[in-house]
Each structure stands twice: as C-alpha cells, then as structure tokens.
C-alpha cells in the first residue's frame, strides 16, 4: 500500500479558510436512548471545548458512547439536553434545509465501515456529496480528482470499492468527507478494519488534516493513535486499579448509593440491611431485578470492565455497605473473575 504523499510546500492541503468555523463547544451534553426497554445514558453532562488545528481522540471501549457522541456532532442524532456549537452554528435543534446544509458544509464524516457505494468508482464516490449539492458534473469530477490526489489515490480513481484495499477505501472515504472542504472532520473508528500497514497511512493523513487548521475528531478504541492526538477525551469511566481504604456508607431507606449510568469504581458488600437493584424502563417506571442481603455483593461489573452502572442501587431499608476497589476485593476474598461475576465469591468472613 502506498502512503499518501506529503503536501507540497505552500499547498493548502487540509487548510481551512476560517479557523473560527472549526471551533467546537459542547456544553452539558446528555444523550439518553432506549435499549431493550431500558433507558441508557452513554453521555452524561459532557463538556468539550476545542478548536481548529487539533486532533481530538474520543477514546473508549465499545459501548461507551463514542459513536453516539459523533452522531450528535454530525447533526444526525438529537441529544436529550445540552448544546453543541460548531463555529457560530447551534447544531442542536437544526432541521430541514439548515440541517442538510450543516451536514454538507460544516462537517465531514468518515464512517467505520467506509460505507462507500459499491456501484460507484472511487471518483464517483467522492463526487456524490457534491452532485447532491447541485455541483455540476465537470466541477465535481475535478474536485474529486484533486482530493483523491491529496490522499494518494490518483491511480485508483476509476476503481470500485471492491477493487481497493481497506486502507485505500478508507482514504476514499476521507476524500469524500472533505468534498465540501468542511472545517470539522469526524472519523468513527477509522483504523478498525485496517491492518498495521494501512493504519499508518490513515493516521498520517488525519494528522495532516488537523495541521491544516481543521478540527479532526476521531472516535476510537485504538490507543496507537494516542501519540498523534492533541487532546484525548476518555469516555470510559476510570478504573481504579490502586488500593485504597474501603468506603463504608450508611444509607437511609430509599437513599440511592449510585444511579444507573454512573461511572462505577467500587464493588459493594452489604453489611446490614437490604439493597435493591433497579432499572429504569423507557417509560420512566422502575423494575427491581434483585435485592442484595447482608453478605452479598454487587456492582462488580462496572469497575472491572470500565462500564457504566447498569442499574440503580437503592436502600430498601436502613443499610450499611462497604465499597472496595476490584483489586482489594479480590485480595480480601479469594475467587476467580468467573466466580466474582457469577456471585460465587464467599464474603461472609468479611461481613
């Protein structure tokens, strides 16, 4: 695979005319949606302030909300609350022609699975956003050839996606995203389907685009991109792997220990009382799926895997619980990870 050529000196490759248009400001963004009948909140009161010329990594495990956040930034998904400003445009609330214009002119999107139209050649794939916006055939083709040249695919313009490698397809997808010269480029897992040789070319290309004044936001779980990023936003809740003193919490009846969707740091053992674990349904009602009595433990999944809490923990009666880091929990109570997950670890001595 050939790496994309370096831009010539003085070239405007990737340069953005108005850096202010690449300014992104996300305020208090919360995204909730229904999944399997329950409310999921992958993004909860999220803030971000970044500008053109930066390569921002949204880093996190699968399911942490990276793609969901990108969808909101792209104007494809409407958040539950909060605001997203791109340049002087408030993205939340855009509709109709204004939304179409925003998607055309302000953001370019690179999808994880390339999403090129199989029936079109590389050149035609790049032309599509232009033709859809009413750009004449000759001008669209000229622009497509220019962009494909910039991503190092001048010799592949008439090839269909099926005749291109993964890396080449991804570069065509990047060229397509740049068709309208948007100030913001959003890339969803751009290295997910590439081997290490292909990854190199794509990473360099994204970096160069950011250096030209564009704001490049990359959602990924691939930490190979970390050294190239100007800013890293970790969307996976922090896992507390260090030892720390156990936390004992006293709860009154009805008091909540943690909410569904919260970041999870500790595994809790019930000392006294009863803890109900409840899930919120999409209609707002709650479903209690288990109660944990003294000697039982709960909340192990979130801290072990860096996930959000899958349920709300509420005291059914006056209760006392003690929270441990996963490391401390396992040190104090012998048991494999499998036993821990299946609730088979004996904690009675600790109670």
């Amino acid at each position: 695979m050939s790496a994309p050529p370096a831009p010539a000196a003085g070239s405007d490759h990737g340069a953005v005319a108005d850096p202010r248009a690449a300014h992104l400001e996300v305020r208090d963004l919360t995204i909730e949606y229904s999944s399997g009948g329950y409310i999921v909140r992958p993004i909860d009161h999220f803030h971000l302030d970044t500008r053109g010329g930066e390569l921002v990594l949204l880093l996190g495990a699968s399911g942490c909300g990276k793609t969901t956040l990108l969808s909101v930034l792209a104007g494809i998904l409407t958040p539950s609350s909060g605001s997203v400003m791109v340049g002087d445009t408030q993205v939340v609330g855009l509709s109709g022609a204004a939304l179409t214009q925003y998607r055309r002119r302000r953001v370019g999107i690179v999808f994880q699975a390339f999403n090129l139209l199989a029936s079109l050649t590389a050149s035609e794939n790049v032309q599509i956003p232009l033709r859809g916006a009413g750009v004449r055939s000759r001008a669209a083709r000229h622009r497509a050839l220019e962009l494909l040249g910039q991503v190092g695919l001048s010799d592949r313009v008439e090839h269909r996606p099926g005749d291109l490698s993964g890396g080449q397809q991804q570069r065509v997808a990047i060229a397509r995203a740049l068709a309208h010269d948007p100030p913001v480029l959003l890339a969803d897992e751009p290295t997910a389907h590439l081997d290490y040789l292909q990854v190199d070319g794509v990473i360099r290309l994204l970096r160069r685009l950011a250096d030209g004044g564009r704001l490049v936001i990359v959602a990924t779980h691939d930490d190979r991109l970390v050294p190239l990023a100007d800013r890293i936003v970790n969307l996976t809740p922090r896992r507390d792997t260090e030892s720390r003193a156990p936390e004992t919490v006293h709860l009154e009846p009805g008091e909540i220990l943690f909410h569904q969707g919260d970041a999870g740091e500790l595994v809790y053992i019930v000392e006294t009382g009863t803890i109900d674990l409840v899930r919120t349904r999409e209609d707002g009602t709650e479903e209690r799926f288990t109660s944990v009595e003294p000697g039982g433990y709960f909340g192990e999944l979130a801290p072990m895997f860096g996930l959000q809490r899958a349920a709300t923990a509420r005291a059914a009666a006056a209760s006392t619980v003690t929270g441990y880091t996963v490391r401390d929990f396992r040190a104090r109570h012998s048991g494999s990870v499998g036993q821990l997950l299946s609730g088979a670890v004996d904690v009675t001595e600790a109670v």
């Binding site: 969808s71 998607r103 055309r104 999107i109 994880q112 139209l117 033709r131 859809g132 397509r176």
Partner: protein, 345 residues
C-alpha cells in the same frame, strides 16, 4: 441523481434485466389487448363506411340493421325512397351463414340490390347476377373459387379486406334475392332499408338510424368483451406497477446503508426520491421498448385483428413513466425514513 441511479442499475443488471423482461411481458399483453379493443372499434367503423350510406331504416323495435332478425315486406323500400331527403333507397337483408368446409366458418352476409348501395369489392368485381359473391379476405377464399354458403353454391367474383364484424367475423356481399333464398324462402322481405340522403321521417312503425347509430348496433354485442379487456388492462397496469414497485422496494431494503450514508452526507429526501424514481422510470421505459417489440412481432399472428397505432406506442411510453413514478412511491417512504445514524452502525 442520474449517476447513482444508472450505476445502481448497472450494478444490479441481472435483476434489472429480469424486471424489464417481466414488466415488458405485461406491458406487451396490455398493448395487444389495447390493440384488440382498437381493432373492434376500427372494424365497425370500416364496415359501416364501406356502405357509403347515410342511414338505415329499421322496424321501431329492432336494435339496428345488423343485429335484428325482424323482417318486413320490401314494399316499405318504395315508401322510404319517396321520403324527403332520400336520394336512393335499397332493401337489405342481413343474415348469418356458415361456410361449409373441413372447419366450418361463420360469416355475416349482406344481401344487397345488384348495383345498389352496399360494400364494393376492392379486388375483382361486384356481383352482377344471382350466385355471385364478394367475400372478405378473412373468409379465406379467392376470386374464381366456388363456395357453399347456407347450403347454396356461390362463385366468388371479388374480395375486400377488413370488413369484419363482431370481433373478426368475416362478411360477404351477395344479391338480395340469394340472401332471401337462404333466410326467407325467397319471400320478398328485408331486414332494413339503406339510403343515400337522410330521410326526413320514417314510415309508421319504423325508425331512422344514422351511421353512428348503426355502428352502435354493431358494437353492442362486443360491449362486455371490450369492457372486460379494459378491466384486464387496468389489472395488468397494476401488475406492472407491482413488479416495478417490488424491484424498487427490494433495492431500497438492500440499500438502506447507502441511503443512510447519503443522508448523513447531506443528500435531501427529494434527491433520494428522484434517484429512486429515475431507476423505476428507466425500468418502465425499457419494458415499454420490450413490449413494443413483442407486440409488433406477435400482433399479426393472433386470430383477432389487433390494431396498434403509433399513438398507442407513444402513449405506452407516457403511461410507463407514470407507472414508474407511482411504483417508486412504494419505496420512497422507506428510503426517506432511513435513519442516517445507520451509517455509523
């Protein structure tokens, strides 16, 4: 839009060809059926015009000169001839006969006055005496042949073409006395009086029918057939729309990811619709071409006369465009409803 549509058709060309052939077959049948309906109407107009008559006088209770069996004394002819407006009046007997042969063939006979009003031969000559006959080419006999009609032998002295009735039944012209011999045992009866010049009034118990009313009499027995063909045509158009709609809908289902990407990259819903409509219209127009070729190839080999005008072919193309657009509406809702977030999936 053109680019996406045509490339997609190219990409799925096998399906496109199957859709075009299937739709073309349906369109072809509609063309042939339309041609049959036109043929019914045209044969009536041709046959009526062949008489060069201005009116027919028939008994008041008779539906018309061609379907009535009500006979009356031929003395009425002289009454009609003396009516104001009439330049010439002749008795006419219309009767049905069977041409004897290995496969008996039904025909309608016009018994006319020799040298009087009635259809003329376009090849050969008109009858000059009893025992002579002019036959429509569909009867399958040539000048000089001797045939047996209604148990009597006739020499064919002339032929004409296209003067059929009741959906392709051939006609023949013979002297009125021969027709009377076949139907009325030589009694001086007639079933109508045919005139040149429009009578100002009809004799008591009779009525005057213009050529268009006489044409209505010929068309009436075919009314059920023509309305059934019209209904079948509508059904076939619906089937054609269904085929195109199914193909478009299937394409939409398969291309949901494509549509999501297009929407995510700023394609408008109208753009998606136009793209789908172009595909449907191209299929429909290609099918219209296939149908036209099929109709041209087959129309001469059918037993019924099929008359397809240039206007019908042009009309087919126009209707195909409408059918294509209507069919693409089926997939439109689904295409427009595609969530652009699917592009991230």
């Amino acid at each position: 839009m053109w680019l996406i549509s045509l490339r997609d058709l190219q990409w799925r060309r096998r399906r496109f060809i199957i859709a075009v052939l299937a739709t073309g077959l349906v369109f072809g049948i509609t063309l042939l059926l339309s041609g049959m309906n036109s043929g019914f109407g045209d044969e009536v107009n041709r046959t009526i015009a062949a008489f060069h008559a201005d009116s027919w006088v028939v008994p008041r209770g008779a539906p018309g000169p061609f379907t009535t069996s009500a006979a009356f004394p031929s003395a009425v002819v002289s009454q009609v001839a003396h009516t104001a407006g009439v330049r010439e009046a002749d008795a006419m007997v219309v009767t049905r006969v069977t041409l004897a042969g290995a496969t008996p063939l039904d025909a309608v006979v016009f018994g006319d006055t020799i040298g009087g009003i009635g259809p003329s031969a376009t090849s050969g000559r008109n009858p000059r005496r009893s025992g002579e006959l002019v036959a429509d080419t569909k009867l399958g006999v040539g000048v000089g042949q001797v045939v047996t009609l209604g148990g009597r032998r006739f020499r064919v002295v002339g032929t004409y073409d296209g003067n059929t009735v009741f959906g392709g039944q051939p006609t023949a012209v013979m002297p009125i006395q021969d027709a009377r011999a076949i139907s009325f045992a030589n009694q001086p009866l007639a079933t109508s009086v045919v005139t040149r010049g429009l009578p100002a009034s009809a004799p008591p118990g009779f009525k005057v029918q213009t050529p268009s009313q006489a044409a209505g009499d010929l068309k009436r027995p075919l009314k059920d057939a023509t309305s059934t063909i019209g209904f079948l045509n509508v059904l076939l158009w619906i089937i054609a729309a269904g085929i195109i709609g199914s193909i478009v809908y299937l394409t939409v289902i398969e291309r949901q990811r494509d549509f999501a990407v297009l929407k995510a990259t700023g394609f408008s819903s109208i753009g998606l619709f136009v793209s789908l409509a172009i595909e449907a219209v191209v299929i429909a127009l290609a099918a219209a071409v296939v149908a036209s070729v099929m109709a041209i190839a087959l129309h001469g080999s059918l037993a019924l006369r099929v008359e397809i005008s240039t206007g019908t072919y042009v009309g087919l193309a126009g209707i195909s465009v409408v059918v294509g657009i209507l069919a693409s509406l089926v997939g439109l809702r689904r295409a427009v409803g595609v969530d652009p977030a699917l592009a991230f999936g």
